[in-house]
Symmetry: C2
Subunit: 248 residues, 2 copies
């Protein structure tokens, strides 16, 4: 018998629910056993209720049993950091990294357009690394990666924010279809972003936006030969635990 695991997903919005036009405030994706459910739910509610993007009027939590036999355990990406003086320099460094990973100039420009847009997606956009075309058909919703978490939070000393992002980036980089990821937060008080891939590792770049700005998001650049449905299924449904190791 495999142990029972549960995926817990949270999304929070201001004004009204996302699907009714509310403003996205917070989201979260966790994985744990039955005994951890209540702690995870409490942490996600606290995250939604104390957020720099605003005050949540709507919070949804969804708990789903996850097939234990599909669980995979993988180590986190290696972490490195680049500090720059200006947002422009940060963007240049990010573009260099993405180009080194094999992303075309067109695709890079399209991704920066998406992340600079004033109307954020609340999930990621999937972009062809050659043509720059957006491949998911999720509109404003985008694709939320779920079902990933750390086996033991104690092992990694970083902030919750970095832990969440490193778990996500590690899962995304795990797919052979992924060429690279670009991210900066939609939180107005957090200006660090990253570029990541299996080869590059997790490259923190700070700043990637100016303080106070609420634009942000994620772009996953994928190979031309991607099977988009199975890629999205992997992102949304494959359960992955990130196991220990040093992150810096």
């Amino acid at each position: 018998m495999y142990p029972e695991y549960f995926s817990v997903r949270m999304r929070a919005a201001e004004g009204k629910a996302h699907e009714l036009g509310g403003k996205h405030i917070s989201g979260g994706e966790r994985l744990g056993n039955r005994l951890q459910l209540e702690v995870i739910a409490t942490e996600l509610l606290a995250k939604a209720s104390n957020h720099s993007r605003g005050s949540a009027d709507f919070i949804q939590l969804v708990v789903e049993k996850v097939p234990g036999e599909e669980l995979q355990f993988i180590p986190p990406l290696d972490v490195s950091a680049i500090e720059v003086a200006t947002v422009q320099e940060g963007h240049d460094k990010a573009k260099d990294q993405l180009a080194a990973a094999g992303v075309s100039e067109r695709a890079i420009e399209h991704a920066f357009l998406i992340l600079n847009h004033e109307r954020n997606l609340r999930g990621a956009a999937i972009v062809n690394c050659e043509t720059g075309e957006r491949l998911d058909e999720r509109g404003q919703k985008g694709v939320r990666v779920s079902r990933m978490d750390w086996t033991d939070c104690g092992h990694v000393a970083d902030s919750v924010r970095v832990r969440e992002a490193l778990a996500l980036a590690t899962k995304v980089a795990q797919s052979p279809y992924t060429v690279a990821e670009l991210c900066w937060s939609d939180d107005p008080d957090y200006v660090t972003g990253y570029v990541s891939s299996q080869q590059l590792g997790y490259v923190r770049i700070s700043p990637l936006k100016r303080m106070g700005c609420e634009s942000g998001g994620r772009v996953f650049f994928v190979h031309n030969d991607v099977d988009i449905d199975s890629y999205i299924d992997f992102l949304e449904r494959k359960p992955v635990f990130i196991q220990g190791g040093e992150s810096e």
Copy 2:
């Protein structure tokens, strides 16, 4: 400034989500302030995870801010109890009570058909007290009454189960459209049911079904002149606190 209150709704199913055909396991509707949110969520998750109907593979929690200025405080219905020797006698007593409240024989028969059905609704059916016609168009889903709770749980000594049912019945009876309510649980280990109305109070009748049976539900009998949309809006959205008092 009115204080901020939040509605918390839970539904749990086995196999898969309700809308995908999963078996309804548990539901719950609560009301509390921001500080109570985490305790309420924890209690609802525990309720869903330890249920006599089965093991939940899917649990959804929805938290919504409730307009404080709409909050109403009402006392619970008076509680009385009828003990009988057989389920048949229990049904006869329930029918007597419903007839006394002004429900026609046809409407009563239809309600018993609905509650005895092997495929339960997961909410209530709304039935015309004269014609017996079902008025809501919610099918298997029915209508879930939400946004009601006790101001202070300590005041009423009953079991959680009775507290939940008494809060619901009190809110339902509060509408001038409601003629009476009939309920027995879908839980296989709980055979007590009730008939309630503003005039009758909350009349516990035991047994109303045999031990081990998973059929159950609720029927709200309404006046012929009901405005069904505003009635459902009241049931689903009007926030009501039940305030203290003795329940037995």
